[in-house]
């Protein structure tokens, strides 16, 4: 993975020093809370219901063992012994004290990490496929462009006071595991241009929140050397034309809609034409320098058939291990290796949370079995991307000792959930307890396996941080006259098949919503043609009517 040079290291340390100065001026009263707010936000420090919340950046979801250990240390030293992994591949701490945060940033800087621009009206963390560099599906490792974009966007002097936050995602594979079509800018690595070279298809104007929108194509193919120039063009048009009068209409998806896609695109292309070939042209030497950090690691030369046979022998001896391998491992691009997903969704647990001890365990596992590489997914799980098949049993045994072995990747209990009313001052309803109830209702692992892929996503308010719009089943918590209700949508999809969930009908109360989810799942099991027809495909085929009838009765 990328390693800082002295310039990167200075940048992050100077930022930590700058923040220390800002905190001091805040305590001295030289800066009001209102003036301090954007400064602390640009270092990821929110003021929440109970305490400050610090959001640490995990650039393109990639960590090494030492960085993961430092997160365990921060959780212990400055927080209540746990951390939360987010839907943008970042890490959140819910309980730091303001006057400790400069120390936390210093500790992060020591391991080449930071909390830069994880909040505020600026360009946020670039997110990507958690299997980057491990999957055989990608045409280029998206983390190279991600690192290039990370540096371009860090302390960008022109684009740090945008109308609103700005989120960029990139995928290197056609199977989109980064939800690019639901981002302000989404990038797909594709071949094209006159010489069928690797370049970038660029989308803009996607988003969720109060008004979910699928992003529109700005260019089918941009050459690598023009990538940053094209992004500059989009940002400049947005900075100048995005709404400043209404916070809820300030995202780029609204700008694209209000200007009209064609007008917006024309403005971008016009600006791009003026910038192209200029100072933002990607220097190939810099590209090569970054790319060198992402060349494939020194994999062993293994015989996949032999490795697979050995693995199946291990599986035959342990039904729990077998179940976990079937559910939580993904095919690797290199013979004899496997991508192993560590579920942070134990039955009845808080989705996406890990204790300091668990983080240390994951760090050790990654160091011993995964070339010191670990990833965060936007579905709030962790990944060991490079595990030899023969090591999976040893990995599993350690996971099992630490409550990290739930075999539910992509299944009904692998729920994405925002912090909700328990933590967040934007929330209207509790979300975590709902995910716990649903998880417990489907605790039967065999049954869950039989249900198959089913992505439930829960948000505690219309800001949609739980990404409910793109859940196969989406649950949105609302407040009606002080009482919590839950609206349910079906058929959302965050992948390249991008779809926004459709509302089923009247909302359900807190005590009814779990039964409603079970009714929906039962209806699916009744309606599906076979085990092979997965939930979303079934919904697409039969429509919402059978589900509405099951939930609300025939009218």
């Amino acid at each position: 993975m990328y390693q800082y040079d002295s310039i990167d290291a200075a940048m992050v340390q100077e930022r930590a020093d700058q923040f220390r100065g800002q905190v001091a001026r805040r305590f001295e009263g030289r800066v009001t809370e209102e003036e301090f707010r954007p400064l602390r936000l640009m270092n990821g420090l929110y003021l929440q219901l109970h305490a400050y919340m610090l959001r640490v950046a995990v650039p393109y979801g990639t960590l090494n063992a030492d960085q993961m250990r430092t997160q365990a240390h921060i959780a212990r030293q400055y927080d209540k012994g746990y951390a939360h992994f987010t839907t943008r591949q970042n890490i959140q701490y819910n309980w730091p004290d303001l006057d400790h945060t400069p120390d936390i940033l210093d500790d992060l800087a020591k391991v080449e990490m930071h909390a830069i621009q994880t909040s505020g009206n600026c360009i946020r963390n670039i997110t990507t496929d958690p299997y980057a560099g491990a999957t055989g599906e990608e045409i280029e490792d998206p983390r190279i462009a991600s690192e290039l974009m990370r540096q371009w966007s860090t302390f960008h002097p022109e684009f740090s006071y945008l109308p609103r936050k700005f989120k960029i995602a990139i995928t290197g594979a056609e199977n989109d595991r980064a939800a690019i079509k639901f981002h302000d800018i989404g990038i797909e690595i594709v071949r094209g241009g006159p010489d069928n070279e690797i370049g970038y298809r660029i989308y803009a104007g996607g988003g969720q929140g109060r008004t979910p929108v699928i992003a529109k194509v700005m260019s089918e193919w941009v050459a690598r050397e023009d990538l940053i120039s094209f992004l500059e063009a989009i940002l400049r048009v947005y900075n100048q034309h995005g709404r400043r009068d209404n916070l809820y209409k300030a995202r780029i998806k609204i700008t694209v809609n209000e200007m009209g896609v064609d007008n917006f695109r024309a403005a971008v292309l016009n600006e791009f034409e003026l910038i192209q070939g200029g100072m933002f042209t990607v220097d190939q030497r810099e590209w090569d320098r970054i790319a060198a950090y992402f060349t494939p690691p020194a994999f062993e030369d293994l015989n996949d058939a032999q490795e697979q046979a050995a693995l199946e022998e291990d599986m035959a001896k342990d039904v729990f291990f077998a179940r976990w391998v079937r559910a939580n491992t993904v095919q690797h691009g290199t013979d004899g290796y496997s991508i192993a997903v560590i579920s942070l969704k134990p039955i009845g647990g808080i989705p996406g949370d890990a204790t300091a001890d668990q983080m240390d365990v994951v760090a050790d596992l990654s160091e011993k079995y995964s070339l010191s590489d670990v990833r965060v997914t936007h579905e709030q799980n962790l990944v060991l991307p490079h595990v030899r098949k023969r090591d999976l049993k040893a990995v599993y045994d350690v996971l099992a000792d630490n409550a990290l072995n739930t075999p539910n990747l992509g299944q009904v209990t692998d729920i994405i959930c925002c912090p909700g009313l328990d933590y967040c001052n934007l929330a209207n309803a509790r979300s975590i307890p709902v995910s716990q109830m649903v998880s417990e209702r489907f605790a039967d692992l065999e049954k869950a396996h039989d249900i198959g892929e089913l992505k439930i996503k829960i948000s505690g308010c219309i800001n949609a941080c739980g990404h409910h719009h793109v859940g196969h089943i989406g649950i949105l918590g609302v407040d009606k006259k002080g009482v919590e209700y839950y609206q349910i949508t079906l058929g959302g999809d965050a992948s390249e098949k991008a779809a926004i969930g459709e509302r089923l009908g009247p909302a359900f109360g807190y005590d009814e919503v779990t039964d409603a989810i079970e009714t929906i799942v039962t209806t699916y099991l009744d309606q599906r043609t076979s085990r092979d027809e997965q939930f979303n495909a079934c919904v697409k085929r039969v429509g919402l009517t059978p589900f509405k009838e099951a939930l609300y009765g025939t009218r």
Binding site: R15, G21, F159, S160, E286
Partner: protein
């Protein structure tokens, strides 16, 4: 409000703002709105002129004639959160090649000074005296920059590959 130019605090500022209704003093130097500049341009006054841009003004639509008529462009930040002024300054420097004074006016605070300078601002009406006194500190907190900017500050990429 304290004026900082070329890194030093100026206790005297010859420029005055004049709104669209007030007659332009004959001897200047006086700052007027963009609309007024366009109106006055054919019969422009004799004294030194400056123009004040509001965030919604399209800096790319300013003509060379209009720029040649002024020796100062004031860019307005009604609230520090309104970042349109940064793009306006860049357009003036890079697109239009303007080399005169670009002055940040309005809600100009310590923590925005570094970015403002990088995108081409050369003068700052800083809201708080204490911030103005710390100007040098504000613009020197970072030894490197990732992005190319009109201020000519060497970028990380240039430094890395200058062999």
């Amino acid at each position: 409000m304290v004026l900082v130019k070329e890194g030093t605090i100026l206790t005297e500022d010859p420029w005055i703002f004049v709104d669209d209704e007030t007659p332009i003093p004959a001897d200047g130097p006086v700052i007027i709105s963009l609309t007024r500049l366009r109106d006055e341009l054919p019969n422009r006054p004799a004294g030194e002129l400056g123009v004040q841009l509001q965030p919604a003004d399209d800096a790319t639509a300013i003509t060379q004639d209009e720029l040649e008529a002024v020796s100062l462009v004031a860019v307005t930040f009604p609230a520090y959160k309104d970042g349109r002024g940064y793009s306006q300054a860049r357009n003036l420097r890079e697109r239009l090649g303007y080399q005169g004074e670009i002055r940040a006016v309005g809600d100009v605070l310590f923590d925005q000074l570094a970015y403002m300078q990088r995108v081409g601002f050369s003068a700052f009406e800083v809201r708080k005296a204490a911030d103005a006194e710390d100007f040098a500190k504000a613009v020197n907190e970072f030894s490197n920059a990732y992005q190319p900017t009109p201020d000519g500050k060497p970028t990380a990429i240039k430094t890395r590959h200058s062999k």
